[in-house]
Symmetry: C2
Subunit: 260 residues, 2 copies
């Protein structure tokens, strides 16, 4: 992570030795808490706009490693299950440093760059997304960000660069993947009722689901199993608790399934 | 397309001016004909292995444009609806020219390259896939290929580079997309029976589908509409013809749907 002035200067002057000058990763981190879906955004100091956290890929790392490293460096959040959603490569789509006011850049970073800088060219960006539990994370703004915050997905402002388009694609793919990869472990409590898991899937997918067909499908696939214990809500209401079947869940994450 | 010796020499010597030296596109083109799914492969003259058609991305083109150009240049097949499936970027995953025997490369191309060539480094590759009608296409081998042929997907040999992994990912994503984007126009006849469209989806998806639930879902979504005309099979068998509703089909291609 760039923290000192020296690290920033080295990155600007000779980062091309360590990083591909034309390959970036951007990460759409969705957070779930108390029934609401949010998106993690960083406010770029130079652009003064909200953006997805992102950065350049090192020549020695895989794209998966790059997305994990960049997320932790830019936001302080680690241990995410990041999945690719799409790669963006229109010429000129993203010339981050070309888009910056050079004076502003100097003010923030203490570095002056010119047309010949390795950072001035166009870059393609591989988009990754993840879903995490907001409570288990503490976002931290990095050197280039004034803020790093969770924003409810229906309140996302106009973003910098082409990140509006990226977020649309990330949401689309995340919701498509919901039908093929299980989600909920580490986001729902260890035991939950059928109503709770249905509400969870409804919030993430943005769709209404069938009250009985949907949970029955989860049971039929073996993804969730019934517990003896019941939830005590009132005298006449005591729905049964369920939990995930870890083995089926992990296998489905690796191989995919059809969940509708 | 590289056809002359001069074009090949120019590409090897100064291609880095026109192309990103570290960004490629590889295309998994699936073909459907008479109930069978096949994959288009090119036999690399230098590697003497079957591979997906692929190539370097120009600095002035989008990734979509690159995938369309490369497919037509390498195989002669144009007008495909290509969709991204995944980007591959493990360090050292694909150093095409590093993997070639230099003498063999010289014999085929008439060019000698050394360690300093722009073609020697590692490259990431953006994977695209498409499904087309085999009858409407005529594959043509390019300068670097000895053959360009359709191979049934259950007979695909061990491929060069990391293309085995790419094909697995392409098939996985293509089959996942089947549940969210319609397919069949230009592959099925203009009018078809419910049994025919079910068999078509079964072959592409590699799964058995429900005899009535599946076609009913297509009808309910408005993707296919009933015609007056019936198919004459025998005295007591005359199933009704259906056709795609173009408007619903195109909208679903743009926006996606849930088809299970």
């Amino acid at each position: 992570m760039m923290e000192t002035q020296q690290e920033v200067t080295t990155f600007f002057e000779s980062g091309y030795r360590e990083y591909w000058p034309n390959i970036c990763v951007d990460c759409a981190i969705f957070g779930y808490h108390e029934g609401k879906l949010q998106l993690l955004l960083t406010k770029n100091k130079i652009l003064t706009k909200w953006c997805l956290p992102g950065g350049y890929v090192k020549k020695t790392e895989t794209l998966d490693q790059a997305s994990a490293r960049i997320t932790i460096e830019r936001t302080g959040i680690g241990n995410l299950f990041l999945k690719q959603f799409k790669t963006f490569g229109d010429p000129g789509r993203n010339q981050p440093y070309g888009a910056f006011d050079p004076e502003k850049l100097y003010e923030i970073s203490g570095v002056r760059i010119d047309e010949k800088s390795w950072l001035m060219g166009s870059a393609i960006s591989v988009g990754f997304y993840a879903i995490t539990d907001i409570v288990k994370t503490t976002p931290v703004a990095d050197f280039f960000s004034s803020e790093c915050s969770w924003i409810p997905i229906n309140e996302i402002p106009h973003l910098g660069f082409d990140h509006d388009k990226m977020v649309r694609e990330a949401i689309f793919t995340m919701r498509m993947h919901l039908y093929h990869f299980p989600v909920g472990k580490n986001l729902l409590p260890d035991k939950f009722t059928l109503k709770e898991i249905k509400q969870f899937y409804e919030e993430i997918s943005g769709r209404e689901l069938h009250a009985t067909n949907f949970p029955n499908k989860l049971i039929k696939l073996g993804l969730i199993v019934k517990l003896e214990e019941k939830k005590r809500i009132g005298a006449h209401r005591s729905p049964t608790y369920y939990k995930f079947n870890d083995e089926v869940y992990e296998k489905a994450l690796r191989e995919g399934l059809v969940l509708v």
